[in-house]
């Protein structure tokens, strides 16, 4: 039954007709755009402000990481590993060390395992704080962004106290770590975590129920659970869709199986859930640090295995055996037995895997990194299709693309 209308009245069909004809615009955003932290280019096809299609172009930070690894010894990879995900260098260090140790068939001493957990989780906190702070900053919540950077500073102070550097840590070695925790580590950590929790409470009040923030994040960049799995998403991106996959729980390494922590998950898989999953993980990481610090046993921090571990300097300078051992290890590298291994660890952005092939010489034959944010970036096009131009910023921010890791 049709409704009678006055002549000349605007019917729905005529409203559509009356709209100005829009044509598809091709726009290139980036590679150097102030709102994209990281060098990346979006080739967009836009209908007005709506994204019809987007082709994401990466590779601007490609340094040939995997090629470089094949040139030096196994220990030479650690400085490069720092520069993969430079928001959480210690997690990369630990992941690579664990992979090579599995290939070599050695285990780090117990104290070292605790140290790796503590420092790794400190790095996870700095990683998440970088991601969340920048995400808030980019949509105008500048104060919350800077508060989170303030919290990150407390963690960086800790990292500096342990490793001597804020970012280029090169802390792990085959079979252990390079130096022990400082004597006042417990005290320093208690102070730092107290400050971080204070800042996070502020940020929670500033953001979580903030109308502008919620409007920009909820329902944006959504990806269904089945799609997220098919795209190979891991970490906070996958957990935001409700899959409780965390390598620390699924395939526990180090002392994670003896540590009590939860795996926060979301439900809808949108940007808001990704943000909240990361936010909740901050507290879990701090819990892990506290538990590990309370239980850390005394003992050595390097495995006692002259095939892979450099002798103490004292021996190098005073005994011929120590000197020869040092010389052979430095000049020829550690003779890791031939074979291959894949070791998955939970990085800041998800499953950080190392697939290593050794031919038995002192150099890696092949080092393959499974970069978690590479797969996030692959799925970005599908997340953005149909959204507005401005939603690129929030969605890209939640992928937490780190150029060093994505482009290697």
């Amino acid at each position: 039954m049709s409704v009678a209308r006055a002549p000349g009245a605007v019917t729905p069909e005529r409203v559509v007709e009356a709209e100005p004809k829009s044509e598809v615009m091709a726009l290139q955003m980036g590679p150097s755009h102030p709102a994209s932290h990281g060098t990346i280019k979006f080739n967009l096809r836009l209908d007005g402000e709506t994204i019809l299609d987007v082709d994401v172009e990466i590779g601007y930070l490609h340094r040939g990481f995997e090629k470089m690894c094949e040139q030096g010894t196994w220990n030479h990879v650690f400085p490069y590993a720092d520069r993969l995900n430079y928001a959480s260098p210690l997690l990369n260090n630990v992941g690579f060390a664990l992979a090579v140790e599995q290939l070599a068939g050695i285990t780090a001493p117990e104290r070292c395992q605790y140290i790796r957990v503590i420092t790794g989780e400190m790095s996870r906190v700095t990683d998440h704080l970088t991601c969340l702070g920048m995400a808030a900053n980019e949509i105008g919540a500048i104060s919350a962004g800077f508060y989170m950077l303030e919290a990150r500073e407390f963690l960086y102070d800790l990292v500096e106290a342990v490793t001597g550097a804020r970012l280029t840590v090169t802390y792990c070695r085959l079979g252990g770590v390079v130096k022990d925790l400082p004597a006042d580590m417990g005290e320093r950590t208690r102070f730092a975590l107290k400050q971080v929790r204070r800042v996070l409470a502020d940020c929670d009040r500033l953001l979580s129920r903030n109308r502008i923030f919620v409007d920009r994040m909820v329902g944006v960049g959504k990806l269904a659970q089945a799609d997220a799995i098919s795209w190979g998403l891991t970490g906070p991106l996958l957990r935001a869709t409700g899959v409780p996959y965390d390598v620390r729980k699924a395939e526990p390494y180090l002392v994670y199986d003896r540590t009590d922590f939860e795996v926060p998950t979301g439900t809808s898989g949108d940007n808001y859930d990704r943000f909240m999953v990361r936010f909740a993980e901050l507290e879990q990481s701090m819990r892990i640090i506290e538990q590990a610090l309370a239980r850390i046993p005394p003992g050595p921090i390097l495995a006692d295995d002259p095939r892979f571990v450099l002798p103490p300097k004292q021996e190098v300078y005073t005994t011929i055996e120590g000197l020869m051992n040092h010389f052979k290890l430095v000049m020829e590298g550690q003779k890791v037995p031939a074979g291959e291994v894949y070791m998955a660890t939970e990085g800041g952005n998800g499953e950080l895997g190392f697939y290593l092939v050794s031919d038995g010489s002192g150099r890696p034959y092949r080092v393959r990194v499974r970069p978690p944010c590479f797969y996030g970036m692959a799925a970005l096009g599908e997340m953005l299709r149909g959204h507005m131009l401005a939603d690129i910023i929030t969605t890209f921010g939640q992928i937490n693309m780190i150029g060093g890791e994505c482009d290697r």
């Binding site: 091709a26 299609d53 590779g59 090629k67 190979g232 092949r366 499974r370 599908e382």
Partner: protein, 159 residues
């Protein structure tokens, strides 16, 4: 459950399962592994290539599979000869393969038949050679690329 004749060898190395599969059957074999209720490899963790220069066949394409529900992993390998470096694409099985195969093509020059959009991803289009091949010299220089007008080049293939 795998297609007949597809499986060439299976081994357990350092507790990790490896299956060698004929490259012609790789897509069907991986589809079976993904869908069979006993394996259910719903995630392609990673896909990469190893170049064994001097060995025949020269390349090995490595598929790292993971099952979220069953929490197990499997490494599937397909040997690829240098003269004809082609394997069937698995991008219709897992979307993760879309970019992973592009990177494998870019770095090793192994082509994936049936991939919808096999372009270079980390390198630029004019790059010569495949840098992760063992016979690509570390210090090799690339020719200068003339400045290009991005709007003239078909930079958006799906448009």
């Amino acid at each position: 459950m795998l297609p007949a004749g597809a499986l060439q060898a299976g081994e357990l190395v350092r507790g990790q399962a490896i299956a060698r599969v004929d490259r012609a059957a790789i897509r069907d074999a991986l589809a079976a592994l993904r869908d069979h209720p006993d394996t259910r490899f719903d995630m392609l963790s990673d896909l990469t290539v190893v170049d064994y220069l001097g060995r025949a066949p020269r390349f090995e394409v490595v598929y790292l599979l993971y099952s979220l529900g069953r929490n197990h992993r499997l490494r599937v390998k397909a040997a690829v000869p240098e003269e004809d470096p082609v394997v069937p694409s698995v991008s219709s099985l897992w979307k993760a393969a879309l970019w992973a195969e592009r990177e494998a093509w870019d770095m090793f020059g192994v082509r994936f038949a049936g991939h919808p959009d096999l372009r270079r991803i980390l390198m630029y289009p004019e790059f010569e050679g495949h840098p992760l091949r063992k016979d690509y010299p570390l210090m090799r220089r690339q020719p200068l690329v003339p400045e290009r007008d991005p709007l003239e080049r078909p930079w958006f293939p799906r448009a």
